[in-house]
Amino acid sequence: MITTLADLLPLLPLLIATATTIVAMTAIGIRRNYALTAGITIAGLLIASLVAASMMSTTNSQVTPLLIVDQYSLFFTVLTCVTAMLIAIFSFPYLANLDDSKEEYYLLLGIATIGAIVMVSSNHFVSTILGLETLSMSLYGMVAYPVHSKLADKFPLEASVKYLVLSAAASGILLFGMALIYAQTGTLEFSSIVNVTKETPGLGVGFSIVALIMVFIGIAFKLSLAPFHMWTPDVYEGSPLPATTYLATIGKSAMFVVLLRLIVTTEALSFDSIILVISLVAIVSILAGNLLALLQDSLKRILAYSSIAHMGYLLIALVASYYVQGTISVEAVTFYLFAYMVMSVGAFGVISIVSSSEKEFDDIDDYQGLFWRNPWLAAVFTGMLLSLAGIPLTVGFIGKFYLFFSGVEAGLWILLAILIIGSGVGLYYYLRIVYSMLLSPKDDEGFKSGGSQYMGSHGVLAFVLALLLILGVYPTPLVSIIETISLNIL
């Protein structure tokens, strides 16, 4: 097959993101200018997301066997690019005072975004691995970025090495699982792997199950699902905040989209043992994430553990997809991922605004009395936390409604009970943060001012808060978009 230029047209968002990185790199080569590099990256990501959004209604094609560009992948391309852009905006004031070269950070951010776009468009193991490694490699760099800075807060090197070693091990398991599947089926395309489940293949059913479970474990590590979550709190805590945000949002959503496509296309859930494994991982993640979060005093660690729980919630909808007719479970996963990204960007955004590369304020006590010192930041943070807890008027509630709905349709009573227990426990640590902000301010305030005066960051907060509330009260526009695009998955 000869690929013409026209065939590559659907890849335009990916190409724009790539071009952005190259332009930014060239610009650094010519003259180091922090604002310019950031500006190029932000503008490029904005253009990429706009182009992807404009293509959504018309494009649906397989570009080479590796990448599928349909409405679903374009939706997540938009989401990824916009999120990356928002994180780039937050990064600007955060890194502004770093006593080291700052410009390359945006290259890493851009390259990671390329990897994420490849992942959300992947329906082939080769592109999955390509995208995943592109994303991960850049993230190692982003996590360790302030390592040469003498003033760096936290422990970026420790976090990066920890992430690198464990992530590489997980990639190994993932690759091994893929190899077993290849040995079984002779193909790496998701759509052809169906044979693993449909027919009795040469090497036996047990072989297929082991292969699929190894793939799942590899993915579960990246999603920080328990019991493969050990790295998460340490890496979240040790990384500079923008990198943590990137890891928590795009790093998770891109991987989950791959998992969703894989599970739904290959019908892997028709094995009872796979359902059992995924359900157990969901239960352990929800309980471990929520219970361990109770013990933390660092906001980054709390959010790390809460992300473990949230990924567990998402698995419930994934399991439900096997039992439920129609697209409701896919919609639930999609909506929840969207909601999760909005609220995570917001929550980490507030912490980023008051922090910088020299000093991060991530202890609960630093936020005592924030409601009276800086009502704006406190209101945004409260909104994000209540949304994470799934309280109405916020997008997180609609997301949780989706999860409950698909769980009820599938009749997953045990998982729903765990979801309720987990959410109940979760309320405690979210409210603990809210309560701390409601207290009277301490005399020795953690941070004096309302954080960075850089308007861009506050603009981002206003944007995510608006999304959070508007979609929480009137979700219909997003609901109908997701309803349409979810048809692509089945």
């Binding site: 309280i391 409604f401 309320l427 219909t476 109908s480």
Partner: protein, 499 residues
């Protein structure tokens, strides 16, 4: 549309009150008062509106999330109107009780107060179950803030407990609502959260029981009833006075309203077979909490336990499910709304003046504050069920109706009236009678009720006397609604019995 106005006026008024603090810290309370008075006037116009063929007044129905068949469906009938009016009335009272007491962050306080009221109005008028759940949760958050910010010494614990109890049981209800909607989808092919659609859903016995329990637990937690009541004493003793007024007067009634409107009509068969257990729980609530109330030394905790005890009569009446018992339940809700609110205000007023809630430290206050003593005596006597006042009508009717349904439980419950007399009079004796000693507490600020306080206590007294002397004016409003509910459930239950 008028219902939308009722709710949105409160939402908007809350925001304006919050913002107005920047101009002058005394503006928020005035704005809040104007908002609620405006709302109350609008409510009176609802009272006069002509109901449509189904008996619903002022309904509004618009698509909200078509994907799930969720609509923005508000409507009121006689029952809702009674409770809406109670909400408006107690809203004004609550603002009055906060007038001097709340001095910090006033703007945000009145914002939360008005948003709680808005959420409650939504609960009383929503006829889409998703919308109902939405408002059910919306009223929690501002209430959490009221307790957590303006509460007393142990506010974090109380606010957290209140929130987690109600939120977790709320999620059980959400699962039940979704199951109802799912069964409707399976049976009729369309997804709907409309109350009228869901009334016709049929489920197997066992499933219906589970689904019903989801509602029951959520509502009896809010009511509250044993064994889900333990959040209430903490929340009440820590909440500021206005918070207690709203909590005891209105929020608890949303649980009872939910039982009458949703839990029983949606699941008539399961409710019928569950009614002995529910009535037994009611009897336990009445007696156990009356006994526990007697053991309290903290006056607010005491009143909180008596609230649980009195709300037991409401549960009893609802699960007896005949006209007299239901009328009794509704009357008790209204009368207890006033009497409990008044008692909490008196307790709050005392705490504001002498900075303690411990009754053993008080005594002999009649000499110093005769007006307060008389008012307290009036509301205590009302609460214990003195004929001629509203509470008597309610509890008497509830017992009368329950007697037809279950004699033994009713007889046991009736002992609650005796215990009520004991603890009510005991409170009066502890605080106002006896030797006046000024050693235990700093009584330099112990002043008698002022004109404003007398005004709103007077209004509440008037309300209770009206309820007691001419209950028909209230019963007439709720009667058609309750008869309609009874008929609809009885035909279903009768069909089951025949089969």
């Amino acid at each position: 549309m008028i219902l939308v106005w009722l709710i949105s006026i409160l939402f908007v008024g809350g925001i304006i009150a919050w913002l107005s603090e920047r101009i002058n810290p005394s503006y928020p309370r005035v704005i809040a008062l104007i908002t609620v008075v405006l709302d109350l006037l609008l409510m009176l116009s609802v009272l006069g509106a002509e109901p449509n063929s189904g008996g619903w007044i002022a309904s509004v129905n618009a698509e909200w999330v078509p994907r799930f068949g969720i609509s923005f469906y508000l409507a009121a009938d006689g029952l809702s109107v009674l409770l809406i009016s109670l909400t408006g009335f107690l809203g004004i009272i609550a603002i009055g009780s906060a007038w001097d007491e709340v001095k910090e962050r006033v703007g945000f306080f009145y914002f939360n107060l008005l948003w709680t009221l808005a959420g409650v109005l939504g609960v009383f008028t929503a006829l889409d179950l998703f919308l109902f759940f939405f408002f059910w949760e919306v009223m929690l958050i501002p209430m959490y803030f009221i307790i957590a910010i303006w509460g007393h010494e142990n506010k974090n614990y109380a606010a957290m407990k209140f929130f987690i109890f109600t939120q977790v049981t709320g999620m059980l209800m959400l699962v039940s609502i979704l199951m109802l909607a799912y069964f409707h989808l399976v049976q009729n092919g369309i997804l709907s959260f409309n109350y009228h659609d869901l009334l016709s859903v049929e489920m197997g016995d066992r499933i219906e029981m589970w689904v019903m329990l989801g509602f029951f637990v959520a509502f009896t937690t809010k009511l509250p009833s044993v064994p889900f009541h333990s959040w209430l004493p903490d929340a009440h003793s820590q909440a500021p006075t206005a918070g207690s007024v709203i909590l005891a007067g209105i929020l608890l009634k949303t649980g009872a309203y939910g039982l009458i409107r949703f839990a029983v009509p949606l699941f008539p068969e399961a409710s019928l077979s569950f009614s002995p257990i529910a009535m037994a729980l009611a009897a336990i609530s009445i007696l156990y909490c009356a006994k526990v109330a007697f053991a309290q030394t903290d006056i607010k905790r005491l009143i909180a336990y008596t609230s649980v005890s009195h709300m037991g009569f409401v549960t009893l009446g609802i699960y007896a499910w005949n006209e007299q018992a239901l009328q009794g339940a509704v009357m008790t809700m209204l009368a207890h709304g006033l009497s409990a609110a008044a008692l909490f205000m008196l307790a709050g007023g005392l705490q504001h003046r002498i900075h303690t809630r411990e009754m053993p430290d008080m005594g002999g206050f009649w000499v110093k504050v005769p007006r307060m003593a008389v008012v307290a005596l009036f509301f205590s006597v009302a609460a214990l069920g003195m004929p001629g006042l509203g509470n008597f009508v309610g509890e008497f009717l509830a017992l009368l109706g329950a007697f037809q349904a279950n004699i033994s439980i009713t007889v046991i419950s009736a002992f609650g009236l005796i215990l009520a007399s004991v603890y009510s009079l005991w409170v009066i004796q502890m605080i106002f009678h006896g030797e006046y000693t000024d050693k235990k507490v700093d009584d330099s600020h112990l002043t008698d009720l002022n004109g404003r306080e007398m005004l709103y206590f007077g209004a509440m007294m008037l309300g209770l006397v009206w309820m007691g002397m001419y209950p028909q004016s209230f019963l007439n409003l709720s009667q058609p609604v309750l008869v309609e509910l009874l008929n609809s459930t009885q035909s279903i239950v009768a069909a089951v019995v025949q089969n």
